[in-house]
Symmetry: D2
Subunit: 125 residues, 4 copies
Amino acid sequence: MTTTQARTEADHAHGADPHTAPAAAGHQGGHGPHGYSAQKDAHLKRLRRIEGQIRGLQRMVDEDVYCIDVLTQVSASTKALQSFALSLLEEHLRHCVAAAAEEGGAELDAKVAEATAAISRLLRS
Amino acid sequence: MTTTQARTEADHAHGADPHTAPAAAGHQGGHGPHGYSAQKDAHLKRLRRIEGQIRGLQRMVDEDVYCIDVLTQVSASTKALQSFALSLLEEHLRHCVAAAAEEGGAELDAKVAEATAAISRLLRS
Amino acid sequence: MTTTQARTEADHAHGADPHTAPAAAGHQGGHGPHGYSAQKDAHLKRLRRIEGQIRGLQRMVDEDVYCIDVLTQVSASTKALQSFALSLLEEHLRHCVAAAAEEGGAELDAKVAEATAAISRLLRS
Amino acid sequence: MTTTQARTEADHAHGADPHTAPAAAGHQGGHGPHGYSAQKDAHLKRLRRIEGQIRGLQRMVDEDVYCIDVLTQVSASTKALQSFALSLLEEHLRHCVAAAAEEGGAELDAKVAEATAAISRLLRS
């Protein structure tokens, strides 16, 4: 997906009316994009550390480091990516799924099915 | 581990005598560090693509892309890291474990235990 | 855990008052233990199929079936267990987490943290 | 696969001549089916314990045990299956891959590719 086409948190958390939604989000104290943004710095810091690990892997391969030691570093990077995914998912359940629960019915079912599919992809990767 | 301390493929593949080993490796047609180096470019290309994916994740978080779409990209990156690990492991089994098999006994047991521990770390990450 | 000590769905879904809760659940049309029970037969059928797979593995080992073929069957059984976990998790998000969302605050945070920890254990197994 | 059609360890470890192979295996001190058989009891004990865990899961579902507690038990069973897979794989590398290494060339390549594919299936399950 190109990021210009990408749906944003605000589109999803607030549904049809993008003009009134941000204000509502502010009143809800952390639901929707603002809750997400509050954690943005932590997420970006985490991803920059993972980027550093991937560059470390390139150095290791370049310097003919012993295969098993490279694999140990790959496991550490994969674990760091999974941790990042879990923190994203926790936020998503707390904000988006909870917001859908207030609407109930089909909206909740759709959000829960979507979250479950995302967890399934994480499990199979 | 710092890479200056890191063991190299050559240390491992050839055991006690680092002077005669490289020549032997050449004769074996791909065992040891030379087999590893032949694939180096492919490995580095793969890792640079993964580095690009991690930077893509940073852009997605920065632009408040919808959580589930970020998670899909995390799954793709994890899968790419696992594929890289599998290609390293396949090389390792073909060269290092096979070389140990020729020596047999304790040397083979040690290499197999080491490879199994690495696979276990991949499974749990 | 012994199952006699185990918490039940009804304890969790309805909080402090175990006497009024079951009736309430009936009125909610699928939340809490009744939603869970509706799927019980499907769950039990799935688990009996997995039990059959594990007995199949015993036969394979007993008959000295080739190692790689046994591993293929282990992967199938692991995948079946993960699918079962995902269907349980989906139900849990739809009923328990959604119920907690209606109460909001600390209750929601606790349920989301608990679900995330469970997902983390699945990812690491 | 039906187990009557299944390849056995003996077929694989000894190639074309099933009559002379077992004797050779005895001389190799643990390679081939005899090494495998020595661990058979440990494998079967392990699988019976996993079968007990799966029956425990059925009881938990039947008694409406809280979802998250069921998921914890699923994670334990998945981990036990993965451990079983790793012990099978370690034996396989020690015996079959090492035996192929002695023959070298295409035989080794085929065995390594086959083992890597099995590891890949475990990672994706």
